[in-house]
Symmetry: C2
Subunit: 194 residues, 2 copies
Amino acid sequence: MRQKVLDAAARLFRDKGYAGTTMRAVAARCGIRAASLYHHFPSKDDILAEVFDYGVRRVAAAVRAAVDCLPPSASAHDKVRAAVHAHLESFFVYGDYTASNIRVFGQAPRPVQRKNRGLRDRYEAYWHLLLEEARQRGELRRGVDLSIARLFLFGGMNHTLEWYTASGVSFRELAERYTDLIFHGIGRSDGATA
Amino acid sequence: MRQKVLDAAARLFRDKGYAGTTMRAVAARCGIRAASLYHHFPSKDDILAEVFDYGVRRVAAAVRAAVDCLPPSASAHDKVRAAVHAHLESFFVYGDYTASNIRVFGQAPRPVQRKNRGLRDRYEAYWHLLLEEARQRGELRRGVDLSIARLFLFGGMNHTLEWYTASGVSFRELAERYTDLIFHGIGRSDGATA
DNA sequence: GTCTATATGCCGATAGAC
DNA sequence: GTCTATCGGCATATAGAC
């Protein structure tokens, strides 16, 4: 039931925001009464905090696993592609949690933000490491600001949640295209426009 | 006073979300009582709809103006750079409106979403045109999906609102780096990783 | 154009039965 | 572990004085 509550809350937070998600609505989705929620969680904010943490933990675990199971011969480019794919795919499996975090974090009460910030930062630091590895292996252009590139990549990936429908392109294909974009861009590489 | 109400509402919608923004709070920011708001707007949803429309209209106008005042000799790359810069800079001037749209649109009531969708779509179509022009001028690689590239670029640009602080890099420099990223990526162009 | 007062209803959370 | 009943507070919106 605990997980059922979190699932219901994640979905509602995603769609209705923080204040728009009521304990009564969460309970209704679980087939119980609002008062019964307090047997599982101390407060609405505790539910939100757990939704945030659960989402980041799962995405981070999926991405790390995807990168770790690559062969030692994998290039940094291969690792980034695998990470992008795992990140996108987790939108499908933990989408309500991920989308809740992305869409609701900014309007969550400060204490809830603080509690989740550590996990968020660690996950972003992992991505920074991936890109830093690419640089050290000589796979990147000189003069590229990796912090900005990482933030740009994150924005591009996470924005997928706002437009993606399963009827279109697959996550694997999308991961391929995003990785291609972040590594090579849309321009011709013959310097015609540079 | 009408504009004052919109400014206050935009700021609150941005920080507190749709349901978390109360007419009392909007009124308090304007130094009046909640009931007085109904002299200027019929309802909370009408305020939100106007915040959405105002933001999109202003950003779109700024971007078009920036592109239009380029010399005829400007490449599509130049136009995209100017558009990215104007889009980012409008975050500074109309940031509460833009951020409200980006963060709150998904949790707004359907009728409000519908009312704003036309403007949103037209603005995105304009960007699509910019990229399409780059392709027709032969400035792009073959095989690039411009719809995906545009969505990726939008995500990257709009994500700036979540991390940007005026103390760091300037919007002009950021526009230069984003444009460089979307055209050339982070990878070496000698094909070492492709 | 702003005010006070209020109608009507939902909010998060608690008490205590079963 | 779920329930009913309820507390105190705040929500949007309206009525009508000034």
